[in-house]
């Protein structure tokens, strides 16, 4: 177990370097200039050169990359070109905000997805199955920015029950609409996975044996649930990790200042330090979340053995 954990942690190093390299290359390949957004309208060549040098963009690209990597190794992700604030100051609250949204959304998705999927897989009633499948497919297919706008129009503009944008403090009222919007896709995925898994497990011989032994429906369900859990955890882990990366569209629609909102602004302003720093931190979070899920799966299901 310990060796497995150490090995997985070691894997994060090449992933981090790979992610940072790809991100660095992509930003520089994109049209435009990293300092373009901060350059005055008619900056003279001298001014442009000064600004370029001040941010270190006058050096060759490999040199820029290694200088950045060296700083990252010491825990310094640099300073935002646009705001002048340290990148860590920008990322930390954004991750906190996205995490708040992600936790609520994934909880919502988990509860609804499991109930719907379980219902469809367990009851074996074609009407229920078809309804749940239709709901799940709709959930997965709905563009969530569109759903966000519809929910805003309905609950904020027309009914005036919930605020349309922002975090407001934060308070729960501001959280409801973006969390519901964000939960719809993972809910659909979880519902479909749970349905398939429950339906598959119910066909297995051990379930028949449990019935034959005279166990009540509820106790059989508990056994089925236990067998479904590793799969649900794997799906949830992936979905949760994705949500931590923030949804650019949902966070922009709801003006929710999370990582998606931060990345969106950084992309449009070519704020290279923010982009590199945020993507690196998010990639690490993704890897870490998957590791946690793997470990949990091992604890829940003894069949999942790791070397």
């Amino acid at each position: 177990m310990l060796r497995y954990l150490l090995r997985r942690l070691l894997y994060t190093l090449p992933i981090a370097i790979g992610v940072s390299l790809v991100c660095f290359a992509l930003v520089h390949l994109a049209p435009g200039d990293p300092i373009s957004a901060v350059l005055p309208e008619n900056a003279s060549p001298a001014v442009i050169q000064e600004i370029r040098a001040a941010y270190g963009f006058d050096k060759p690209l490999p040199a820029q990359y290694f200088i950045w990597l060296k700083r990252v190794a010491t825990g310094d992700l640099g300073t935002s070109i646009k705001t002048g604030r340290p990148v860590l100051w920008e990322i930390a609250p954004a991750i906190r905000n996205s995490m708040l949204l992600a936790v609520v959304a994934i909880a919502l998705a988990f509860v609804c997805g499991c109930v719907l999927g379980g219902l469809a897989g367990y009851t074996r009633r074609p009407t229920v199955d078809r309804t749940v499948t239709a709901l799940a497919v709709t959930g997965v297919s709905l563009p969530h920015y569109w759903l966000g706008m519809v929910l805003i129009v309905l609950f904020s503009v027309e009914l005036r029950l919930l605020p349309a944008t922002g975090m407001g403090g934060p308070d729960i009222a501001h959280l409801i609409l973006p969390a519901v919007t964000l939960s719809v896709i993972p809910m659909g995925i979880i519902a479909r996975s749970v349905r398939a898994s429950v339906s598959e497990i119910r066909k297995q011989e051990f379930v028949q044996t449990l019935y034959a032994k005279g166990l009540s429906g509820r106790r059989v369900l508990a056994h089925v649930a236990k067998n479904v859990a590793p799969m649900v955890m794997a799906v949830m882990g992936l979905q949760f990790a994705q949500m931590l990366g923030g949804s650019i569209l949902v966070e922009t629609v709801f003006a929710w200042p999370g990582t998606g909102f931060l990345l969106n602004a950084a992309i449009f302003t070519r704020d290279l330090p923010i982009l590199q720093g945020t993507i690196l931190v998010l990639a690490m979070l993704f890897v870490f979340t998957n590791l946690v899920v793997d470990v949990l799966q091992m604890l829940v299901d003894p069949r999942v053995k790791r070397a």
Binding site: G32, S36, A43, A54, T83, G84, T165, I172, H174, N264
Partner: protein
């Protein structure tokens, strides 16, 4: 059960709405900006016109300020932290500013000549402890022409420019003065100053949550009693998505939204919102290439393109949030003059000119324009460009649109039409301002003002325009300068230097209870007279 589950959030939502109601009683003006992050708050703000509007001119003052109190005439320069200014007759490079006495920064320290010099060092003197690259970058276009500066006496400053520049007062009006005392108090750390800035402006920063909100409170001791804010607090919120801003206003989460999309205006009006518009120094044009091989080197082609566009139709398409352009500046502007070439919708004449040049709808002229998907001042670039593309097609143009993201387009504009990346591009659709003579007329039409020296992207070169631009640059009498600029404008319109399409009317939507706002003919606005009724 379901109702029980919903009860808690609904109760919280009701509380939030109640809290919003209570905030109104305190007179809190909530503004939804188009920004995705708040501008720099240390003094010289980032994020262009909107940054200046909401952070620059609220927290800070410049030596000269824009008079934004009138809707029916263009915004003019008036005394700000300087009560008067003059340039010496001998060299026309030494500017003397007499400073306003008894002005205090928000931290209580006194504004004086030392503070002005300290601020210029902040922007220009790289070895000064207070030099701040972030602010220097933002201010570089305003201070690039400054050669030196010094304190004459505690209430007088002298600034020497590198060359004669009659436009200098316009530039200094954008240089914000921050408090040296606050910088020292916070250990010389601009990052800390950003959280607790101190200027002399009518508003003071109370709270800053990056990427989310800035809360400004009234400065009761503001030096100009006429401009002490009428609202107690102003909350600036970041809402880059236009539909989100509109929804926030319709749900009364905010009182004011910047730039509502034209197609939402009927809905906003129906809900009782005020739609405020006014002409301001903005133009939505195509800057044309005069590089080797560009078809726009032929004046007939340039004129035909200008006559082919149904501007009134485009204005209707934009829900009346624009007016047709008849040149670089709007027809009521003092720099408009009396051009002989009347820019209008005349497709027959356009076809005639195209035929004369050897083209027709059957044998069209292929041209390529670089355009953006969005961007500051770009209005609704995609449908507008498609509209123009259709108009031009009808008279014999085959227009290819090269679509790119805003920063990429800006980089293309900075590069100039001769740059390799602009090879084959015959025009660039980059919205433009004309709030000062440099950006509006001199920098765009003078042949020596090719980027990066100026804004002459396409390399327009005309002897008469060059002479007038040079003359305007050194005419220090504002009235005479206006007359020269009007002649320059006449010349560039007669030469059909660009394809001018529309002037944006800068729409904003206000809740019905927002009162006192006067929309100035400017990129900047004064928020001090705004208040809310019950």
């Amino acid at each position: 059960m379901v109702l029980k589950k919903l009860a808690a959030p609904l109760f919280a939502a009701s509380l939030a709405l109640f809290a919003n109601g209570a905030a109104h009683a305190e007179m809190v003006l909530r503004v939804a900006t188009t920004l995705s992050d708040l501008p720099l708050t240390t003094g010289q703000p980032s994020q262009g016109g909107e940054g200046m509007r909401f952070i620059g001119f609220t927290l800070y003052d410049a030596l000269i300020r824009w008079d934004l109190s009138k809707a029916d005439e263009r915004a003019k320069l008036v005394p700000g932290l300087a009560t008067s200014w003059s340039v010496d007759d001998a060299t026309h490079t030494k500017w003397t500013f007499k400073l306003r006495p008894n002005v205090k920064f928000h931290d209580g320290s006194t504004f004086d000549a030392e503070a002005v010099v300290w601020n210029l060092d902040k922007l220009l003197k790289r070895d000064a402890p207070q030099f701040d690259q972030a602010q220097a970058t933002q201010a570089s276009q305003y201070v690039a022409g400054i050669a030196s500066y010094r304190v004459i006496d505690p209430m007088t400053v002298e600034i020497t420019t590198k060359y004669q520049d009659a436009v200098f007062p316009y530039l200094i009006a954008d240089v914000m003065i921050s408090s040296p005392a606050r910088y020292k108090e916070l250990g010389g750390d601009w990052t800390k100053v950003a959280q607790k800035p101190s200027g002399t402006g009518p508003w003071m920063l109370d709270k800053l949550v990056p990427r989310e909100r800035a809360e400004l409170i009234r400065n009761p001791n503001y030096w100009d009693p006429q401009r002490v804010p009428k609202s107690d607090r102003m909350v600036l919120l970041t809402m880059p998505d236009p539909n989100t801003r509109v929804a926030a206003l319709l749900s009364r989460q905010v009182d004011w939204v910047e730039a509502p999309p034209p197609d939402t205006i009927p809905r906003l009006k129906e809900a009782g919102m005020q739609i405020v518009t006014n002409i301001y120094p903005h133009n939505w044009p195509y800057q044309l290439s005069f590089s080797e091989g560009s078809p726009f080197r032929d004046i007939r082609i340039r004129k035909a393109a200008n006559l082919a566009i149904d501007r009134q139709g485009l204005v209707e398409f934009l829900g009346g949030t624009a007016i047709p352009s008849e040149g670089m500046v709007d027809p009521k502007h003092p720099w408009f003059g009396h051009p002989n070439f009347k820019i209008r919708y005349d497709p027959d004449e356009a076809r005639r000119l195209m035929k004369e040049a050897g083209y027709s709808p059957e044998h069209p002229l292929h041209v390529k324009f670089a355009i953006s998907t969005a961007g500051s001042g770009q209005m609704q670039p995609l449908p507008m460009n498609e509209f123009v593309q259709e108009n031009l097609k009808a008279v014999g143009f085959d227009v290819e649109l090269e679509v790119m993201e805003w920063e990429a387009l800006r980089a293309r504009r900075r590069a100039g039409s001769d740059a390799p990346e602009n090879k084959g591009v015959d025009g660039i659709n980059n919205s433009f301002g004309y709030w000062d003579p440099d950006i509006g007329l001199i920098g765009t039409s003078w042949s020596k003002m090719r980027p990066p020296a100026g804004y002459n992207w396409g390399g327009f070169s005309d002897k008469q325009a060059d002479e007038l631009a040079a003359k305007a640059k050194v005419e220090f009498d504002p009235q005479k300068q206006d007359e020269i600029l009007a002649k320059l404008h006449e010349r560039i319109v007669d030469q059909a230097m660009w394809i001018w399409v529309v002037h944006d009317l800068n729409p904003r939507a206000l809740a019905p209870n927002v009162k006192g706002f006067v929309q100035a003919q400017s990129w900047f606005q004064d928020l001090t007279p705004v208040y809310l009724t019950k």
